[in-house]
């Protein structure tokens, strides 16, 4: 029995090849992802709680994300009834993006801001105490008593 005419078959084949050609054009597709990175900084300073000399030093945890033209710095100022110095030990390994910081010799605490960590870019230290930046505050007088009055220390993070 005749079901298809040659003309009908030709039309079907033409349609099929046209559909195929269209489909081959769409053998790829793409879309857009918009990545938005907001500049931010989150930092915290707290007394050590670990097994190594707990309470004898402070831990600085920081996560920073800067814009291309930004840098940050952390300054310190304070008041103490006796002269004290601040010593900072970078975490080991030192995180990339953490700028130069006061090293040997420390920094004498003054009532005005002094930079203790400069040129801070995008970085993170660690959330684990053993890998944070260690801050020690020690008497600046040889033979000073181990226990001395409270000293108030203020850390400030600036963004340029």
């Amino acid at each position: 029995m005749r079901s298809f005419t040659p003309a009908f078959l030709a039309a079907c084949l033409l349609l099929l090849s046209a559909t195929a050609a269209q489909a081959q054009d769409a053998s790829w597709d793409s879309h857009l992802i918009l990545i938005r990175l907001d500049n931010m900084a989150s930092y915290r300073i707290e007394r050590s709680q670990g097994k190594n000399d707990p309470g004898k030093h402070y831990c600085l945890r920081i996560t920073s994300l800067v814009r291309p033209d930004e840098t940050r710095m952390i300054s310190v100022k304070g008041i103490s009834p006796v002269p004290v110095r601040i010593y900072i030990e970078p975490s080991n390994p030192e995180p990339a993006g953490l700028g130069p910081m006061i090293r040997e010799g420390g920094l004498a605490l003054k009532p005005s801001d002094q930079v203790c960590i400069a040129d801070l870019k995008s970085c993170f230290t660690s959330s684990e105490e053993k890998n944070t930046i260690i801050i020690r505050i020690l008497p600046d007088l040889p033979g000073a008593p181990a226990a001395f009055a409270f000293c108030q220390v203020i850390y400030t993070l600036f963004t340029n």
Partner: protein, 178 residues
Amino acid sequence: MPLIKVVTMTVLVFISIGVTNAQTGQTETLNASIPEIASLRIRIDGNSIIPLSVSVPGAGSPLTGAPNSSSWLGVTTVVGAGKKGTISVRVSQMIPGLNLKLTVAPCTAFGDGIKGTVASDRVLCLTDQPVISDIGSMYTGGGVGYGYNLTYWLAENGMDQIRGGATSVVVTYTYSSN
């Protein structure tokens, strides 16, 4: 008896007509050429652009990226005899300090055919990487909720190189067969 004769004659006449029609029918050879077909379509739930960002769980912690699973890849393929299809992915640019990662989930149940094997998590780069391989002739259905669910997220890969701002990345999926 006359009734039986009439019925018999009628049946014979109908059979005769059928045989005549069958004998007068033509035989035609239909050469159907089915070309290889590949049609890919990405559907995104809600928006036409996928937003990604990072957050900080806490001071000192690395950045973490929230995953986005709002896009779906719908596919229809017809492969040639003995051939298998592969879908690859690439991006238009890299983000300094960050990896753009992709997970392709196995195809949803809708559809039919040989839907291939999805690869494990990929870090997207500028060159094509296969994400679905061993594809046969198949269709997945189209639209949100059909096909392969695509999950993107960002992972830190060099914190000091990361800079704030907005960047757009084009992700391209390409089908090939061999």
